[in-house]
């Protein structure tokens, strides 16, 4: 203890570094844990107490007496059914003030007397009495969630106009009053995280009244709730009972059986119904869906933990390094090696346990913040108020790991220090290890072993010299590992003839393998998921770069010294400093490796973030082909185009019909075992393209409007990647010509099923659909349509090409585009006879949000304003329900959502910078205190104070610079590789951010050096000369 107290400052620094490391371990552990936790909690909880839902996408609405069939069933698989409720769930529009409308408000019409499905809470946490609130006489009352209230500025007592679907797709206006505002984050009203967070809840009876005769008892969703274990059932909805890895929970099998029973039960009445348990789907998908995200996070966690470990090792090494003299004294006094080892171990363990405890104290709030950030980022319920749920295992794991790592990293140098040569240490000479014959044989043995293991490992992959093998990304890890091992082994053998040459071979081999795979291997990949490959590539880059610098450290320092010798006042300083750095090579290596890792991560995150933002927005500027505004209307009308054209500033309007329809990605006939309704059915937007609108001159010339294509089918058109924008435009024109060519239907197959009767599957002649990212070129998709022979299901075979036009813009981007011939066979277009989707060009530029917004609002006002007798709505006598989107804003906003993830990673990565800064400060302080005697010597022979400070500055700045150079180069290369191979875009370098990183690193180095350097230079040389460590 005396020794600990005597060396207060040094031990405090050690405690600080261990604190940082353990805090980091806890924090990052919580982060990756939290991702699963937050998602599972949200996905799990979003259904409140609903266990199974029944919907019918083909007929949309169905009679409510279906619920009676289920309720009255005596099937044992439904014996623990606790409640059944029916609802109408659809998107509706809300007109909340003159001309202002939100057309994407989800309406939830419910039965008001089913407490089995949870409750709504007001903003004070009080339960809302739905029964009395939604059953009022007079004007229908609704409760709205707090997010809708904020976004539309609605208060309790306000009224707004909405439209109700009459069951045939026609909107019927209804004025409702806001009776209460419920908390979207609590209980039954919890919002599904990926749906627009706006909802109003209304009594189902009031909605049904607006429906046409014959449909007044119709519903579109049935929900079932089963008894939980505590109520005598077998089911548990407790999140803690969900096993993410095994993808199961108590009652999963029961729900599966119940789903099968219900499917069978409804096969006659509702043959196309979707019966599914979201709970089961969530349990099966959480792990898979989050694998990529968690993979990236784990990579970061690994890297940050590595830096923390390097920091601890560095501090440990320093501890023992500067106590070598005392060790020698102790040994000279008669202490055994074991005794010294124990003294060191006990002493360092005490310090490190204290550090670990502090680490936990810092780590817990840090983890808490981390989880809140993740929750907020992914819009999890309770992002602000929920207390982070840290698992016991994360805390104990991090603490134990912190202590264990500290003790292990203390034990190894302690043992080494206890074995140093007594006489050499007493004379102040660094102990030298002489290479004997046996160690030479050990190296040869080890080298040969690495070569053999490498070759054996390579043989598992097969013919790695063939390009075909490289096309599977899963083969890369074993191939690269094999080469890495073998070439390292060869390098080791060569060290016996020329050490530096041999080690350079190993370093270049390791680094070269990483670059080779990044710049060639990954460009030809066609299959596999590449688990761990990026971790390995990153590790190779770090190890290879670090080795290159270490092996050539003396040469690099010699060159630096020569450069400094040009400047007369710096000659002596440079000579002392470069030699000092060489002397402390291993420590210098550890520090610059820390910086390398941190910078690779930071440069990568910032570069990719900027690359994605800039390239996507710019790409879409071109792709938008001059379109600035997208208008959707609830009511289709032939008059809308002219109305929009009359608005000042509008130069052109393209009009389309569009609708959401169910699309199957597998043949949905009942004999197809591959068909899975959960994964093969999507509601997709289809847009009808008309040649007379897109190609008015019939020649696809200047005045034509071309939907650009991104991925092109190999069968019809030559597959092209990386083509210029003009080439893409030419290709698009060719494809559009083919798209509008005349088609025929052909009978593909004829199915007869006992359950569904006759189903004729017809296919189009070929290619009548432009696909999107979900339906890529050449793939088969199926949609329900009217066949030529009156068949019930028509299969649309093969997508022409995948368009990426307007990408993620809601309402247009990622939509399927169909020919008029096919559109007319889709039932939905029987109701949508006129355009309801409009692309508007204005006189303003793509980025001129202010002016375009003004025009967009004018369009909305002109179409929607019922108070204006000249508005289209007034003329038609129905709210047109026009909503507008600025294409540029939408692009940027949607990107920003994704950018949130990168921002989070950037925050996460910047923690690394903190470690680097702390590490630099610790090492500078320690380095100066160790060199105190040397500083005294320098002062005695004529080094000025400034020269002493310069010496410390040069030492730290060079360590920072090494890290900066290796980190930035590798970070940029990795970003380039990701941008090109993974995100398929051009890398954009964020010069400002890179400049900031350089400034931070140099700044940290300067501050870390100046403070202790100035302090040391002020100590009287006579006092510094007495320093013994």
């Amino acid at each position: 203890m005396k020794s600990i107290l005597r060396r207060k400052q040094k031990n405090l620094l050690t405690v600080f570094s261990v604190t940082l490391a353990v805090a980091l371990l806890v924090g990052v552990g919580a982060a990756s844990n939290g991702i699963y936790g937050a998602f599972s909690d949200s996905w799990w909880g979003l259904n409140a107490d609903t266990d199974i839902t029944i919907e019918d996408p083909s007929s949309t609405y169905f009679p409510s007496n279906i619920t009676d069939i289920i309720s009255n069933s005596a099937d044992p698989n439904l014996s623990t059914l606790n409640g059944i409720t029916q609802s109408i769930e659809t998107y509706s529009n809300v007109l909340y003030s003159a001309g202002k409308i939100d057309a994407k408000v989800s309406m939830y019409a419910i039965e008001t007397d089913d407490p089995q499905f949870g409750q709504y809470y007001d903003m004070k946490g009080k339960v809302i009495d739905i029964n009395s609130t939604l059953n009022s006489q007079g004007m229908p009352q609704v409760i709205i969630n707090n997010e809708l209230a904020i976004s539309l500025d609605l208060k309790i007592g306000d009224t707004f106009q909405t439209t109700i679907d009459n069951g045939q797709g026609e909107p019927v206006p209804m004025t409702v009053k806001v009776a209460d505002i419920f908390d979207a984050k609590l209980g039954r009203g919890r919002e599904f995280v990926f749906r627009p967070a706006s909802r109003y809840v209304i009594n189902i009876a009031q909605v049904q009244q607006k429906m046409i005769d014959g449909m007044k008892d119709h519903i579109n969703v049935i929900r079932l709730s089963f008894k939980q274990i505590s109520e005598g059932g077998v089911l548990s909805r407790n999140i803690n009972d969900l096993d993410i890895n095994k993808q199961t929970f108590p009652g999963k099998e029961m729900l599966e059986n119940a789903v099968d029973t219900l499917k069978e039960m409804l096969s006659e009445r509702l043959p196309t119904a979707i019966v599914r348990s979201e709970r089961n789907v969530a349990a099966e998908n959480i792990e898979e869906n989050l694998r990529g995200l968690v993979g990236v996070l784990n990579l970061f966690v690994f890297m940050l933990n590595l830096t923390a470990l390097l920091l601890i090792i560095n501090v440990q090494a320093m501890n023992f390094d500067d106590r070598s003299y005392q060790t020698a004294v102790l040994r000279a006094m008669g202490s055994s090696r074991g005794q010294i080892f124990r003294i060191f171990l006990i002493e360092s363990s005490i310090v490190r346990v204290i550090g670990s405890v502090f680490g936990l104290l810092v780590g817990l709030p840090y983890a808490d913040w981390m989880q809140r950030t993740i929750n907020a980022l992914f819009e999890m319920p309770g992002a602000d108020e929920a207390k982070a749920t840290l698992s016991q295992s994360v805390i104990t794991g991090a603490f134990t790991l912190g202590v264990l790592l500290s003790v292990i990293t203390a034990a190894i140098p302690a043992w080494a220090a206890s074995g140093n040569s007594i006489t050499e240490e007493l004379r102040g000479i660094k102990s030298t290890k002489t290479k004997n014959v046996s160690s030479r044989w050990k190296i040869i043995f080890f080298g040969v072993l690495l070569i053999i293991v490498g070759i054996l490992n390579a043989s598992n992959v097969g013919e790695f010299w063939k390009v075909e093998v490289w096309k599977n990304i899963d083969n890369h890890t074993p191939i690269i590992t094999s080469f890495g091992l073998s070439l390292s082994g060869i390098g080791l053998l060569v060290t016996q003839f020329n050490k530096r040459f041999g080690l350079n071979i190993s370093a270049i081999a390791i680094l070269g393998l990483a670059y080779f795979d990044m710049f060639w291997g990954l460009t030809i990949v066609e299959e596999g998921d590449g688990n761990n490959l990026f971790t390995i590539l990153l590790l190779y880059m770090i190890i290879g770069s670090a080795m290159l610098v270490i092996v050539n450290f003396e040469a690099i320092m010699g060159t630096i010294n020569k450069i400094f010798f040009i400047f007369t006042p710096l000659r002596a300083v440079s000579q002392v400093t470069t030699k000092q750095l060489i002397k402390k090579k291993s420590r210098a290596t550890l520090l610059f490796t820390i910086f390398t890792i941190i910078l690779i991560i930071n440069v990568f995150v910032s570069t990719i973030s900027v690359t994605m933002t800039e390239s996507l927005v710019n790409q879409y500027e071109w792709r938008s082909q001059g379109n600035d505004i997208l208008i959707n209307t609830q009511v289709p009308s032939d008059n809308i185009t002219a109305e929009i054209m009359n608005i000042e500033g509008v130069t052109q309007v393209y009009s389309f019909r569009s609708a959401m329809i169910p699309i199957y990605y597998e043949n949905p006939n009942t004999d197809n075992a591959d068909f899975d309704i959960n994964s093969d059915l999507r509601f997709r937007q289809v847009i009808e393209l008309r040649e007379d609108i897109l190609n008015p001159d019939g020649d696809w010339g200047e005045n034509s409007y071309v939907i650009t294509v991104e991925r092109v089918d190999e069968k019809l058109y030559e597959k092209k990647t990386g083509i210029s924008e003009l080439e893409l435009m030419d290709l698009s024109k060719t494809i559009m010509k083919d798209f509008f060519a005349e088609r025929k239907f052909e009978l593909e197959s004829n199915y007869t099923s006992a359950e569904t009767g006759d189903i004729k599957i017809e296919k189009f002649d070929e290619y009548m659909v432009l696909g999107d990212i979900f339906a890529t070129s050449g793939s088969d998709i199926y949609m329900q349509a009217k066949g030529e022979n009156g068949s019930e299901v028509v299969a649309a075979k093969q997508v022409t090409a995948s368009n990426d036009f307007l990408g993620p813009v809601d309402g247009f981007g990622y939509s399927l585009m169909v020919t008029p011939e096919l559109a007319n066979r889709l039932e939905v277009f029987d109701y949508i006879k006129s355009p309801n989707l409009f692309l508007v060009k204005t006189v303003n530029g793509f980025f001129d949000d202010t002016e375009n917004q003004r025009i967009a609002l004018s369009i909305q006002q002109k179409l929607n304003n019922l108070d204006d007798p000249n508005s289209l709505s007034s003329k038609l006598g129905v709210l047109v329900g026009a909503t507008s989107r600025l294409i540029h804003t939408e692009m940027s906003a949607l990107w920003k959502q994704q950018a949130g993830f990168w921002d989070f990673l950037a925050t996460f990565a910047s923690i690394g910078l903190l470690i680097g800064a702390a590490g630099m400060a610790i090492i500078a302080m320690r380095s100066v205190s160790e060199r105190l005697r040397e500083i005294g010597m320098m002062r005695a022979i004529g080094f000025s104070r400034n020269k002493v400070v310069s010496s410390v500055i040069i030492e730290m700045v060079f360590l920072g610079l090494f890290g900066l150079i290796t980190g930035v180069i590798n970070g940029i290369l990795m970003s380039y590789m990701f941008a090109r191979n993974i995100f398929e875009t051009r890398m954009v370098l964020p010069y400002d951010i890179l400049g900031a990183y350089s400034a931070i690193i140099i700044g940290v180095a300067l501050i870390s050096a100046i403070i202790p350097g100035v302090r040391a230079s002020r100590i009287a040389p006579s006092q510094a000369l007495r320093y013994t460590g």
């Binding site: 050499e424 004379r427 102040g428 000479i429 660094k430 010798f565 007369t568 006042p569 000659r571 002596a572 000579q575 002392v576 030699k579 000092q580 060489i582 002397k583 005697r933 040397e934 005294g936 010597m937 002062r939 005695a940 022979i941 004529g942 080094f943 000025s944 104070r945 020269k947 009287a1020 040389p1021 006579s1022 006092q1023 000369l1025």
Partner: protein, 245 residues
């Protein structure tokens, strides 16, 4: 050849002693409870061309005296005049340069930079003075050859014997041709034969440079007797001043 920094020139003090110490007091932790009064009203002169031994029991203030004379430590009161410059009145920066140009230090534990070769250790003061690397190396090589280390120039201190290390330290002290050499037990860590060699080196140096003075702190009567004069310090005061030659 000197560098660009303005340096203090030794004044024309041919007829004056090189060092004049007047009423020198040095206290550690001055004004605090644990104040130690190390040097008390020390007075002495050192003429040019003289080698002086300072002797006295451990803790009497010998090393402190050497440090304050060399400007490595500050004194509490009195004055120290070296070559016409009162070192108590010059700035820290001037003192550093003054030390570089005019004073050479030699320590018991050699205080060589262990990461630098013998040659590099010796070139350092020259580089500080602004010598070109080639000139510095050439001059240092000559110096090391003079002290008999021509074949050890590229060895690190750890690879040299104690006597060899001390000869490197002496070379480093002499390389700038200073007027004053201050040695703190320069032979304290060496055997008698090596000590004698070192003393011969000092004697030769002072013979060849009659403008120079050498002050060495020693416990050894044998070493002291090879000097021109012995100054004995006891309890922080000059107890005796014995001229031998």
């Amino acid at each position: 050849m000197t560098g660009t920094i303005t340096r203090l020139k030794l004044k024309n003090t041919e007829n004056m002693p090189l060092i004049r110490v007047n009423s020198l007091d040095k206290k550690y932790n001055e004004g605090k409870n644990n104040e130690v009064h190390v040097l008390k009203s020390i007075e002495f002169d050192i003429p040019r061309g003289q080698m002086i031994a300072i002797m006295g029991p451990s803790g009497c203030g010998k090393t402190t005296l050497l440090n304050v004379v060399g400007g490595l430590d500050k004194y509490s009161s009195g004055s120290i005049n070296i070559g016409g410059n009162n070192i108590g009145e010059i700035s820290e920066r001037e003192m550093t340069n003054f030390r570089l140009d005019n004073i050479g230090f030699i320590f018991q534990l050699f205080n060589l930079f262990d990461s630098q070769t013998a040659l590099e250790n010796v070139t350092l003061p020259l580089l500080l003075q602004g010598y070109s690397p080639d000139d510095a190396i050439e001059k240092a090589k000559m110096m090391l050859q003079e002290v008999g280390l021509g074949d050890r120039m590229n060895h690190l201190p750890g690879e040299l014997s104690g006597g060899q290390q001390q000869r490197v330290a002496i070379s480093r002290a002499l390389i700038t041709e200073p007027l004053l050499i201050l040695g703190d037990e320069p032979t304290g860590d060496l055997d008698s034969e090596t000590s004698a060699d070192i003393m011969k080196l000092f004697q030769r140096t002072i013979r060849e440079n009659p403008q120079m003075s050498i002050v060495i702190v020693t416990h050894s009567q044998t070493i002291a007797e090879q000097c021109d004069r012995i100054l004995r310090i006891e309890h922080g005061k000059v107890a005796s001043d014995e001229v031998l030659k």
